[in-house]
């Protein structure tokens, strides 16, 4: 990479890039430097899971821009001082657009963003923002609600089990969405949760899944687990199972309920577009079915046609905004009314959720 473009004043450089992008219409704008995109991932990319889904999203950016972007991906980097140094090095190497794939990269990433206002940062799962620093999260609860409806139809014991990573709002609201969906079909269904405090601990995830089955659950939800361990346990034990981020159907060919997939491609492509146009604005990006980021697919064929029709209708309503998963009346675990009928839980309350809805048996870790 030559350094002349970096020496140009920032605004000029941006204008030039914008012109160059527009210039694609007339020529291939051979003069344009490719946009340097750096991706930092907490786990190996692998065939399934979190990092895999992020990588797929970036692949869409590559596909759209071809030689106009140059993506370098660094996987399996533990959060901590070393990750901070690597980010620093990425900035030093001239990367203009950084995708930080884990919550723990937040504080160091934000510092870098403040020091480098001409670069753009996307940060997974965090809550801090800056003008050039956008945290992004998926509204998993929207998809989980639909899964809950299917689970409620298929369960015989009326008990559902969740193996879950950390008790952060993102995952709590997903479990609550799942529970609300299930109880909208059958109010007798209850949900047990085991928090294993890890994104990646196959042994613990398997043990927890077996414990939930032993406790009577016959549908499992692998909540933010980066391995197919819970899914394989479900298949072996004959319990329906679903998970987030990317499809694990091949690990449970007969008992796979479906996947609440995240398709980051539209969001990543839009962000790169905005960066190139100089119009990127850092804000809390909270993306759901309406943004085509949360996608529910690979439905089990055991779901009745009736129920599938109900699920599809609900999918329409949620995606169009006619209905919201957190429409009242909402009760908490203690049976107290949180939101009365006719009202809707505010976004802030979902983003900071620290309570369970009625129907979740397990207490939240405090």
């Amino acid at each position: 990479m030559n350094s002349t473009s970096r020496k140009l004043p920032n605004a000029l450089a941006r204008t030039l890039t914008a012109i160059a992008t527009a210039g694609c219409l007339f020529s291939t704008a051979a003069s344009a430097e490719p946009l340097e995109i750096g991706v930092l991932l907490p786990s190996p990319i692998a065939d399934v899971g979190w990092s895999h889904a992020l990588n797929e999203g970036i692949a869409a950016v590559k596909e759209k821009y071809g030689d106009d972007v140059n993506v370098s991906t660094i996987e399996n980097i533990q959060e901590g001082p070393d990750a901070d140094r690597i980010m620093n090095k990425m900035i030093g190497d001239g990367q203009q657009f950084l995708l930080l794939g884990s919550f723990g990269y937040m504080n160091a990433g934000l510092k870098l963003a403040q020091r480098n206002p001409d670069r753009t940062f996307l940060h997974a799962s965090g809550y801090k923002t800056a003008e050039n620093f956008s945290p992004f999260t998926a509204k998993y609860y929207e998809g989980a609600y639909l899964m809950g409806m299917a689970a409620a139809e298929l369960t015989k014991t009326k008990k559902l089990g969740v193996v879950s990573a950390f008790a952060i709002p993102e995952l709590i609201s997903t479990i609550n969405g799942f529970t609300l969906g299930a109880r909208s079909v059958d109010p007798e269904v209850t949900v047990d949760v085991i928090w294993i405090n890890s994104w990646f601990d196959p042994a613990k995830a398997q043990d927890s899944a077996k414990a939930l089955l032993a406790g009577g659950a016959d549908v499992l939800f692998s909540n933010a687990q980066d391995t197919p361990s819970v899914v394989t346990v479900g298949e072996e034990a004959g319990a329906y199972v679903f998970n987030l981020n990317s499809s694990m159907k091949e690990y449970a060919p007969t008992k796979y309920l479906g996947v609440v997939k995240t398709d980051w491609a539209p969001f990543f492509v839009a962000s790169v577009d905005a960066h190139l146009a100089g119009s990127f604005e850092g804000k809390n990006e909270w993306l759901g079915m309406n943004d085509n980021v949360v996608v529910v697919e690979d439905w089990s064929s055991d779901i009745s046609a009736d129920m599938k029709a109900r699920i599809d209708a609900m999918h329409e309503e949620i995606a169009s905004g006619a209905r919201h998963v957190y429409d009242g009346p909402l009760m908490n675990q203690e049976g107290e009314e949180v939101i009365p009928s006719g009202e809707r839980l505010e976004d802030g309350a979902i983003l900071g959720m620290d309570w369970h809805v009625e129907g979740v048996n397990s207490p939240l870790p405090k």
């Binding site: 750096g38 959060e79 070393d82 690597i86």
Partner: protein
């Protein structure tokens, strides 16, 4: 012609110096071969590893940032290893040191007192020592193997850390993410230059190294410690205590590792979080051996490994090397060193047919 390994009468000074150097050369060669097979740019990777860390001022300060904790822990471990006390759990002692030190800013969130940092230093050291003391007690009282105990205590320390981060010490404004509050400036070491992460805590390993050098090389206590480990019975006759060797070795390591953990949370990290050690507790074992358990040798070894780790990070970004390749390089280094180190105490002798019967000192 067949060879045999024969014990030297005296350890070879030449080999003592040649061993780490040849380990470096051999692992570089093997690593280059692997890179070639992987179809990675060999020249650029070696450049990333050995030259890039010195390319600019920031990189150099980062090398010293890594050098500090490696040096500190390795010096203490080496004292124990010379006394044949195998403390593999510096990692855990480091974690508990970091926890103990973090209690100060966690419980005095709003304090701006000048005593915050000194209190953290003391608590960090005590925390590490307390954790190591468990292993020392079990070893001296029940003769429990310290390798297993220290290693397992590391797992327990990790669980303790997770418990605190998810429970009582969780940042109330942190949306349930497992981390404490960010520490106030008074609870952090001052950066040495503006804009870099290298901070005043670098003084600790340097002072510690001088003290260890004086203790081991110039003081009778160091000798007693070594004898107590090498020949416990002889030591007892001479009035030295093998138990004392265990206690001194482990407490010293706990002290150093605790301080290292404290320097991390009060330095580049600035809060207590799930990963605080960067694996220093384990890397320091490599450093101690690469430095031939010698205080001066360890200085060089710690510096070398720091360069290698910074270089590894550069290689990840600039040469697009996977992180496992960096680990392979570091592993090769230790294996080659241990192999070549044999030649410090042994030498190759050609076996002549006549002398075949007289190989009483043949190594088995």
């Amino acid at each position: 012609m067949p060879f045999k390994l024969q014990r030297r009468e005296h350890a070879s000074r030449l080999m003592l110096i040649a061993a780490p150097l040849s380990a470096v050369v051999l692992s570089t060669i093997v690593c280059s071969g692997l890179l070639f097979i992987l179809n990675k740019p060999v020249g650029q990777t070696l450049y990333s590893f050995f030259i890039a860390p010195f390319e600019n001022f920031y990189s150099i300060t980062e090398v010293f940032l890594k050098f500090g904790p490696l040096l500190l822990i390795a010096q203490a471990l080496a004292v124990g290893f010379r006394a044949k006390v195998w403390n593999i759990g510096a990692e855990g002692q480091m974690i508990v040191g970091a926890i103990a030190a973090s209690s100060v800013p966690v419980y005095f969130v709003d304090s701006t007192s000048d005593w915050l940092l000194p209190a953290m230093i003391i608590l960090g050291a005590l925390g590490g020592m307390a954790w190591a003391a468990i292993a020392a007690f079990l070893k001296t009282r029940f003769n429990a193997n310290e390798i297993l105990v220290t290693l397992m205590l590391t797992s327990i320390a990790l669980q303790l850390l997770y418990y605190l981060l998810l429970g009582p010490w969780k940042d109330p404004m942190g949306f349930n993410f497992p981390q404490t509050v960010m520490f106030q400036n008074e609870a952090l070491f001052e950066p040495l230059f503006s804009g870099v992460r290298l901070n005043t805590s670098i003084a600790i390993p340097i002072i510690f190294t001088i003290v260890i050098w004086l203790f081991m090389e110039r003081h009778f206590g160091g000798f007693k410690l070594v004898v107590g480990g090498l020949a416990p019975q002889a030591a007892t006759y001479a009035g030295f205590s093998a138990k004392k060797a265990v206690w001194v070795s482990l407490l010293l390591a706990g002290f150093a590792a605790g301080l290292a953990g404290m320097s991390e949370v009060a330095g580049p990290i600035g809060q207590l979080q799930r990963s605080v050690t960067s694996g220093y507790g384990y890397s320091a074992i490599i450093v101690a051996y690469l430095g031939a358990l010698n205080p001066l040798g360890i200085v060089f070894a710690a510096f070398f490994l720091a360069v290698l780790q910074i270089g590894g990070d550069v290689a990840l970004v600039s040469a697009n090397l996977p992180i496992s390749a960096v680990h392979v390089f570091q592993g090769l280094l230790l294996i080659f060193y241990l192999a070549v180190y044999t030649l410090v105490h042994y030498q190759f002798k050609p076996i002549r047919s006549a002398s075949l019967s007289a190989t009483s000192d043949h190594v088995t």
